[in-house]
């Protein structure tokens, strides 16, 4: 039953076929980013935020922190606004789902490597 050479025709076919991988950091064309990818957290609509802290409470990774609104921020009802620490974020999207006013989103920008933890705080 067992014999040699079952894979040879496949090998010959692959000599002429297109490359399966993309030379990613140099070439970005050809990366398949689907619609609805869960990646970088974003505070999309600050005007609608009430500072209710639901997102902080549901976050399984304790990545969301509520800070006092800075002068340049849009002021919320309770005076607090969320920030996200990307080093702890697991991109589960529970905050987006739990937010009653649709303030938060997860964007599809997936390049999240930084040199310092301070750069990983999303305001």
């Amino acid at each position: 039953m067992a014999r040699l050479g079952k894979i040879q025709p496949e090998l010959m076919k692959n000599v002429r076929s297109k490359q399966a991988t993309v030379r990613y950091p140099f070439v970005k064309a050809g990366i398949n980013v689907p619609e609805g990818l869960r990646a970088r957290w974003d505070y999309k609509v600050p005007e609608r935020c009430t500072g209710c802290k639901i997102c902080e409470r549901v976050c399984p990774a304790e990545a969301i922190e509520m800070i006092k609104c800075r002068p340049e921020d849009s002021q919320t009802k309770t005076g607090f606004r969320p920030i996200c620490h990307l080093d702890r974020c697991v991109t589960c999207g529970q905050c987006v789902e739990s937010c009653p006013r649709g303030v938060l989103i997860l964007t599809d920008s997936f390049e999240m490597a930084f040199l310092s933890r301070d750069d990983m705080v999303v305001y």
């Binding site: 039953m1 067992a2 040699l4 050479g5 894979i7 990818l37 869960r38 549901v58 589960c92 529970q94």
Partner: protein, 408 residues
């Protein structure tokens, strides 16, 4: 003739420790193989180097947060842990989830099985030194990975199940795309099945290696493809169906894949044929998916209850045991991952085989170290780590429970 020519040399018994940190192992595990020459005469398996105290963390988290924690027990079968925890909480709350949610959850489970088995096949090819097929099979695994990413938004941690249903719906365009993908995938998997069975370089390395006879498989309670490769009829999908498996199995179109070979070849054949079966199951699920809502509302506080949720993960039967206490946090959550059952059978498989076959025998149960590690006691003051035997653990746990009675 001198007597020196007739002398029989008995090789000394040598015990080779492999691990916990070893270049050939991707995860920390310790194997002590006693060899006589090239034959393995005894094997000892030690685990417990990857303890993350997930069960303890879960007691301070809400059920909703635990879903994501459960999903991170294992990277390869994240959907099974996530879905099974959701199922356990639903059992405890005694709520019925919508039909469409059941179908989508089952679909994710089956897609997870397809990608896990193709991944295993690639690893098996790699372990016997057949790297061409390893790379080809992993290339074609991308088809199913893309499907999962497309539906759930993440390649590995799908997190599709939530308490009361699923988080995302499947559109008609996605359905058409997936059906097209399955055609391509099936063609490729049939090719890999033929490669696994007919290619001499692979088949001769796995034929008759790592024998696990059915009585011993039963005695060591092997589950999943390890058990089914030895002819044991253990498959929760068929024995105790849940979710959309109930209508699917009732159609009678699907059969449990069994092999009576009992060696690594048997386990490989079971896995490859299961992929084809899983593709057919996914097609059936997509074509018969009912319309309707995908999520039922469940109150965050779950009534006091004690439940056992079972599910057939890619590696075998997965059990989540959950005690709820009327709050939104679990009182106790116990995970019994399938690899835990298969460890004991592996020590038996190793005995009597060649040392060179040890990697493929170790890989044949598809071990997942992170799933398994539960009992290692770390003493912060004394700075010691020790593994605990079952008897000692029982004594210690009885003592602990006496000192900490359960809150009423």
């Amino acid at each position: 003739m001198t007597s020196a020519g007739k002398r029989i040399v008995i090789p000394p018994r040598v015990t080779i420790p492999i691990g916990p940190q070893h270049p050939a192992l991707k995860e920390p595990g310790m194997f002590k193989l006693t060899v006589e020459g090239e034959h393995i005469v005894d094997a000892e398996v030690n685990i417990g180097y990857n303890h993350r105290s997930i069960e303890k963390i879960s007691e301070n988290n809400t059920h909703l947060q635990n879903l994501y924690l459960a999903s991170r027990i294992c990277g390869i079968c994240s959907a099974t842990h996530n879905g099974n925890y959701a199922q356990a909480v639903e059992f405890a709350a005694e709520v019925e989830i919508p039909e469409r949610a059941k179908f989508i959850r089952t679909l994710i489970w089956e897609l997870d099985r397809i990608h896990s088995h193709i991944l295993w096949l690639g690893v098996a090819f790699h372990e016997v030194g057949f790297d061409t097929a390893f790379m080809l099979s992993w290339r074609d695994r991308e088809i199913v990975m893309d499907m999962l990413e497309n539906i759930s938004g993440n390649r590995i941690h799908h997190d599709m199940s939530t308490i009361g249903g699923v988080r995302r719906n499947i559109s008609d365009a996605q359905k058409e795309q997936m059906l097209k993908g399955f055609d391509k995938l099936e063609e490729r998997v049939v090719f890999y099945r033929d490669v696994a069975i007919h290619e001499k370089t692979f088949w001769n390395r796995i034929d008759g290696v790592g024998m696990l006879e059915p009585p011993i498989a039963k005695k060591t309670s092997a589950v999943g493809p390890t058990g089914r490769g030895s002819g044991l009829k253990v498959d929760v999908r068929f024995n105790d169906p849940v979710q959309a498996y109930i209508p699917m199995i009732d159609t009678g179109d699907f059969e449990m894949v069994l092999s009576d070979r009992g060696d690594v070849a048997g386990r490989s054949v079971v896995r490859v044929l299961e992929v084809i079966e899983a593709i057919n199951m996914c097609r059936w699920l997509l074509n018969n998916m009912p319309d309707g809502p995908i999520r039922a509302r469940v109150r965050p506080r779950i009534q006091p209850n004690e439940v056992l949720a079972r599910h057939e993960a890619p590696r075998g039967e997965l059990i989540h045991y959950l005690i709820t206490n009327g709050t939104n946090k679990p009182d106790r959550w116990k995970v019994r991952a399938p690899t835990y059952n298969n460890w004991t059978s592996m020590a038996h498989c190793l005995r009597g085989d060649y040392l060179a076959d040890a990697p493929i025998i170790l890989a044949a149960i598809d071990p997942c170290y992170s799933c398994t590690d539960r009992v290692v006691i770390v003493d912060g003051n004394g700075e010691t780590i020790r593994l605990v035997s079952l008897d000692n653990l029982r004594i210690e746990s009885n003592k602990w429970h006496k000192e900490h009675p359960r809150r009423e």
